[in-house]
């Protein structure tokens, strides 16, 4: 076995992302560290604007300029990717890391048939002939559960329903056999009745293929059913990370507790994150000390002065003084 196959699907160490703006530097991500093993699904939750998508885009090397990684490292399948140039990154995307975005209606090019887009992607990542690639495309469509794949491959995106389109998107994301999938709210835009089908499919395929998944979602029910571990983000930082059982049943950070507040039992479906009083501070108005301090019910003097760091514990890690020396 080569050593790379032992390395995790994704390893992010101390990642920070900043945006230079006219009114100074905005730090969108600070000191984000996480690891996803092969075949493992890491759920990522947090309010809108917490930096979940930003983390995924940084891993994909698709940050919108002038945004840039200013500190930290990203390793995909053991290979460092944050220092690659544009050309090198083009051969990482699709082959080492795939992506699924929120809206299947807009993820596919409306002017090319599903087959054209599949064949294009397959041939980018292998030296198959056109006919071979087409046969493989049909195979992929069957794998993601599209009935009549032999005919459907020549259809255009608008001829598919939303759920079917997201299956096509999954087939495209898996076409290059990547060891990591970034799934950014893959079911948010879909009908509630088919959300579970899509996440189940995603989980099955990634397990079979041994790919790690970063699953961003608002739906705690999906996290409970699908993910192995979960990371909670707040104002550009990870504030708690651990196994799904621990974090959902015994949340440590007051923010996580707020999020889980209304979940009656593990596995019960809750559509949206519970509202916590107040709102997350904007990037240019993060208070000194703990970013959560204005909304925290257990806030103490220490929280206003110092910023808690993510301290690893037996299971998972949490960034809160309650668990590390008290808030006084």
């Amino acid at each position: 076995m080569n050593p790379a196959s032992h390395s995790p699907a994704l390893e992010v160490k101390g990642l920070s992302v900043e945006f230079p703006t006219r009114r100074g530097m905005l730090t969108a991500l600070s000191d984000v560290s996480l690891t996803i093993a092969r075949g493992e699904i890491l759920g990522v939750v947090g309010e809108s604007g917490a930096g979940k998508s930003m983390t995924g885009m940084a891993v994909l090397g698709l940050l919108e300029p002038p945004g840039r990684v200013c500190a930290g490292e990203i390793h995909i399948g053991g290979k460092r990717t944050d220092n690659l140039d544009n050309d090198q990154m083009e051969s990482v995307r699709g082959r080492m890391v795939g992506a699924i975005f929120q809206d299947p209606l807009t993820s596919l090019n409306p002017l090319f048939s599903v087959g054209q887009q599949l064949i294009e992607t397959i041939r980018l990542h292998s030296d198959r002939s056109r006919a071979d690639a087409r046969a493989h495309g049909i195979h992929l469509l069957k794998q993601v559960g599209i009935p009549g794949a032999d005919e459907r491959i020549d259809h255009y995106p608008h001829q598919f329903s939303g759920g079917m389109r997201q299956r096509v998107v999954i087939a495209l994301a898996l076409a290059g056999n990547p060891q990591l999938i970034i799934a950014d709210e893959p079911t948010t835009a879909l009908d509630v009745s088919i959300q579970a089908q899509i996440t189940t499919l995603l989980r099955r395929l990634c397990r079979e293929q041994g790919a790690g998944v970063m699953l961003v979602t608002h739906d705690m029910g999906i996290i409970a059913e699908t993910a192995d571990r979960v990371a909670v983000m707040y104002a550009g930082r990870i504030i708690e990370i651990g196994s799904v059982e621990d974090v959902l049943a015994r949340p440590k950070h007051p923010y996580t507790r707020g999020l889980m507040g209304s979940i009656p039992a593990l596995g019960a479906r809750v559509e949206r994150l519970t509202q916590i009083d107040g709102s997350m501070p904007r990037l240019n108005a993060i208070p000194p000390g703990c970013a959560f301090n204005p909304r925290c019910s257990a806030v103490g003097p220490r929280c206003l002065k110092a910023r808690p760091v993510l301290v690893p514990e037996a299971q998972g890690a949490v960034a809160c003084f309650i668990h590390h020396g008290g808030v006084a």
């Binding site: 051969s91 995307r93 699709g94 992506a99 975005f101 993820s107 990542h125």
Partner: protein, 321 residues
């Protein structure tokens, strides 16, 4: 697709009938054909006889139907000015205008599209911004001024290219082309450039705006995420999504180009339909004017129908309609 074709062509026929109606009104009621055709010494009975022979005593509708029937066969009567067949006069002039307009259109696409793509992907760089700025000048210069400037520079000062006429023409029976001779090709350069300059900047600015818009689309982000290279992203995925507005613009503008050709043909003494029309207006030669109206509209309508069909070919979503 068949139902779609039938619907579009039905529309086109309807529009042409309406245009023919107005042309007929001009033809029938602007000036008296009998007065124009008889000589001074004709008696009243001569006139009445001619009136009856031309069918001018019949009902309005009958006359209109006959006018449409004749027009559909290209029969527009005789020119009041020199008694030649109108359709013959136009057919003689049509190739010149057609070649001028087609070459101007091709120039605008061949130059405008790449410029649009490059100014979009080079946004923020000095060369892209200065092209974009330069295009404002192209849009705002009047056509005749551009023509005169081109003649001054390339014909009068440098002496590189002819500044008037069509050069030597080869007759292919029903078509006379200037594109097969050296002098003909040289002669078409300045007028077509002058005619297309506005169009080039229009296409360039449209393609740039559409590209910038399309490059922000989700499917572009997703294409990048699955590893599509930048070149393919720009020229395959993004550009194809920009072509529809360009096709529309181009086809719509061909009508305008034919209209603008009036000016260009006058500036460059280009022997096309535009010059024929200008002469017809000067001499109140109604049959030529009516025929020009019908034929130019026919080109307009045909192009528009063609655009609709081209749309459906480019965009599979429209085929069902």
């Amino acid at each position: 697709m068949l139902a779609f074709l039938i619907k579009r062509i039905g529309n086109a026929v309807l529009v042409m009938l309406t245009v023919a109606f107005f042309a007929f009104l001009i033809f029938r009621f602007l000036g008296d054909p009998v007065e124009m055709m008889v000589n001074e010494s004709a008696t009243q009975s001569d006139r009445d006889e001619l009136r009856a022979r031309l069918g001018l005593n019949e009902g309005f509708l009958v006359q209109y139907v006959r006018f449409v029937g004749n027009a559909a066969q290209g029969e527009f009567g005789l020119s009041w000015r020199n008694q030649q067949s109108v359709i013959g006069l136009i057919a003689e002039r049509f190739p010149a205008t057609f070649e001028l307009v087609i070459i101007a259109t091709l120039l605008s696409l061949a130059i405008g599209i790449p410029l649009g793509v490059f100014t979009a992907i080079g946004r923020g760089r000095w060369w892209a911004e200065s092209l974009q700025f330069g295009s404002i000048i192209g849009v705002s210069l009047p056509s005749f001024l551009v023509g005169i400037l081109l003649i001054l520079i390339f014909s009068v000062s440098l002496g590189w290219l002819p500044g008037y006429g069509r050069g030597d023409v080869v007759n292919l029976g029903w078509w006379s082309t200037g594109l097969l001779t050296q002098s003909g090709r040289a002669a078409v350069v300045l007028p077509s450039l002058s005619l297309s300059l506005f169009q080039i900047t229009l296409v360039m600015r449209l393609v740039r705006a559409e590209m910038l818009e399309t490059l922000r689309a989700d499917f572009i982000k997703f294409a990048r995420a699955r590893g599509v290279r930048r070149r393919a992203l720009w020229f395959r995925h993004a550009l194809k999504n920009c072509l529809m507005p360009v096709v529309t613009l181009t086809a719509m503008q061909v009508g305008n180009l034919i209209a603008f050709a009036l000016v260009t043909e006058t500036v460059f003494q280009w022997p096309g339909m535009g010059m024929l029309f200008m002469q017809a207006v000067t001499f109140v030669d109604i049959p030529v004017m009516a025929a020009y109206l019908c034929i130019v509209s026919f080109i307009f309508v045909t192009l528009n129908t063609f655009v609709d069909i081209a749309y459906a070919v480019i965009d599979p979503r429209l085929r069902a309609a």
